[in-house]
Amino acid sequence: MRSSNVSAYSYIAPAFALLGLVLFAPVFYGGWYSLQDIRYGAPMGFAGFKNFARLLDEPDMGATLLRTFIHTGFSVVITIAIALGLAVWIDHLAPRFAFLVQIIVIVPWIISTVVAALLFRWVFLNDIGLAAWAARALGFGSFQPLTSPAGAMSLLIAISVWKRVGYAVIILLAGLKSIPDDYNEAARIDGANGWQIFRRITLPLLKTPLLLVAIVLTLSNINTVETPLVTTGGGPGDATRILAIDVYERAFVNFDLGGATAMALLMFAGNIILVVAYVRFTKWKA
């Protein structure tokens, strides 16, 4: 028995070595590092919670948190609303259409954020772009969202939604497919209309996929560095400076690695709460 345990561990050892090196060990090392006095990236001796305390003193932190909350909240809610509508619609399409539509829907998700944001800017944002030309031709005024704080935040939310709707559609569609047709048939025979079926049967049975999608979307929106970096750069002013961009610039623009590591660990603790929720809702069994 013992030797067979050893052999079982040898099958999972490579996986855990890799996860340990990249996911687990850095958290412990970062914990130690964040308690050090960091000069030019090098630990210079124990400093207690100085790096953490410094974060609390910063007057802008509350506003950054609020912006993060707005960006993530709106992005997640809008993404799920659109994805749910699309998934229900695709579920009713004939199979060959359904597959085609799924492929179109998933395209922004399989393209990198950098390239997607670049193309999005060229077509929809540029004052000499296609959308600006169409807007002028149709008699609308000029469209320059990047010049106003609310416009820039709306734009950031729009791109976050555009990028991730496809992912949410695929997951929700898988959830819809697992609902037996008989349920809907039975309800229809009992005289339920489309909305009632959606409200009383589809939604409750979609609860788990909806929660999982919400958690994953929340995690990826909170932690997205590239979307704001490539589209708005955090501006104008600080209008789209969310937590992820703040921690990134703290580390790699201002080179305050002590403060950035402390902040990253706080974000990590927040992520863990979501991860625990995720694990609870995943029907995992070993």
């Binding site: 099958y11 999972i12 490579p14 199979p95 950098v114 193309l119």
Partner: protein
């Protein structure tokens, strides 16, 4: 699948209202999701004078490759090749670690099996936490001397894709009847023999799905690539394109040419294995 097509057959022929309800959302989706792609590719082959023409020109210009030439003299080929290398190694490493782990978690009984698998499941959303994990990851890799080496990114990408790969492959192994392992063992196969001759061939679709997702994720990754690497010859493709935005500014010809080239491997993978991406996502039901 059979149920869906049966109900499609039962559906009456579409009237005008219904076909409008079908075609309007599809038209909107095509404009919002595919137009930027198409317009970017078209821009990349237009001569400078046509790019900014008003009204926009869709046809009637001589296609040019000047923008592609400028992109290539700016170090594009090197980044393209190194990104292929990073993503390829990451896919192979992730699958090579995932298959035995998934097999052990499904078929063996050993102490801490549940808790260790729980750790894998928790790592799926955890590896999405780019901003939170990136900085501890960076200071740790500085400490190990891995920053700015060819090893950093394959290791990071493989580890980020691994939990999902284990999950997807384990799902496939669950579906393989245990009688097959038992028969093989009676025939004298070892555990490794079962892995090699039963699990590997029968979990190929799942390995394909997991590998496809891992490739797309690694190829598209930007933040770790820009933070861990300074040397131009090691710089992956996404950070290079980001630096082009500053370098070329409003020269949309070279910018769209670089974007087009960066999409090509993804489109090839997608055209060949699009079904696997959808099925991998569905099986995993998790990553964002």
């Amino acid at each position: 699948m059979a149920g869906t097509s049966a109900s499609a057959l039962l559906r009456p022929k579409l009237g005008l209202g219904a076909s409008l309800a079908l075609s309007l959302p599809i038209a909107a989706l095509i404009v919002i999701n595919l137009l930027p792609l198409f317009w970017g590719m078209l821009t990349s082959i237009k001569p400078e004078s046509v790019i900014f023409a008003m009204p926009p020109r869709f046809v009637g210009f001589g296609p040019t490759n000047v923008h592609y030439e400028r992109v290539f003299v700016s170090g594009f080929a090197q980044s393209f090749m190194i990104s292929l290398f990073y993503s390829g190694v990451a896919v192979v490493m992730a699958l090579a670690c995932a298959l035995p782990a998934a097999y052990a978690f499904d078929r063996f009984d050993f102490p801490f099996r549940q808790s260790l698998f729980l750790l894998v499941v928790a790592s799926i959303p955890l590896s999405l936490g780019a901003a939170a994990l990136l900085i501890p990851n960076y200071v740790y890799f500085v400490h190990l001397g891995l920053v700015n080496t060819p090893y950093a990114l394959p290791l990071i990408y493989a580890a980020h894709q691994l939990p999902m790969a284990i999950w997807v492959v384990k799902g496939a192994i669950e579906a393989i009847p245990r009688e097959l392992d038992e028969a093989a063992i009676i025939d004298g196969a070892t555990r490794f023999g079962v892995l090699r001759h039963v699990m590997l061939p029968l979990s190929r679709p799942a390995l394909g799905a997991a590998g496809t997702l891992a490739f797309v994720g690694s190829w598209n990754e930007f933040v770790a690539g820009s933070v861990m690497i300074d040397a131009p010859w090691l710089r992956p493709i996404q950070p290079l394109i980001y630096s082009f935005i500053g370098f070329f500014g409003r020269e949309w010809g070279p910018l769209t040419a670089a974007a087009t080239l960066a999409i090509v491997p993804i489109l090839i993978v997608f055209a060949l294995l699009g079904r696997l991406i959808v099925s991998g996502l569905t099986k995993g039901s998790v990553k964002g």
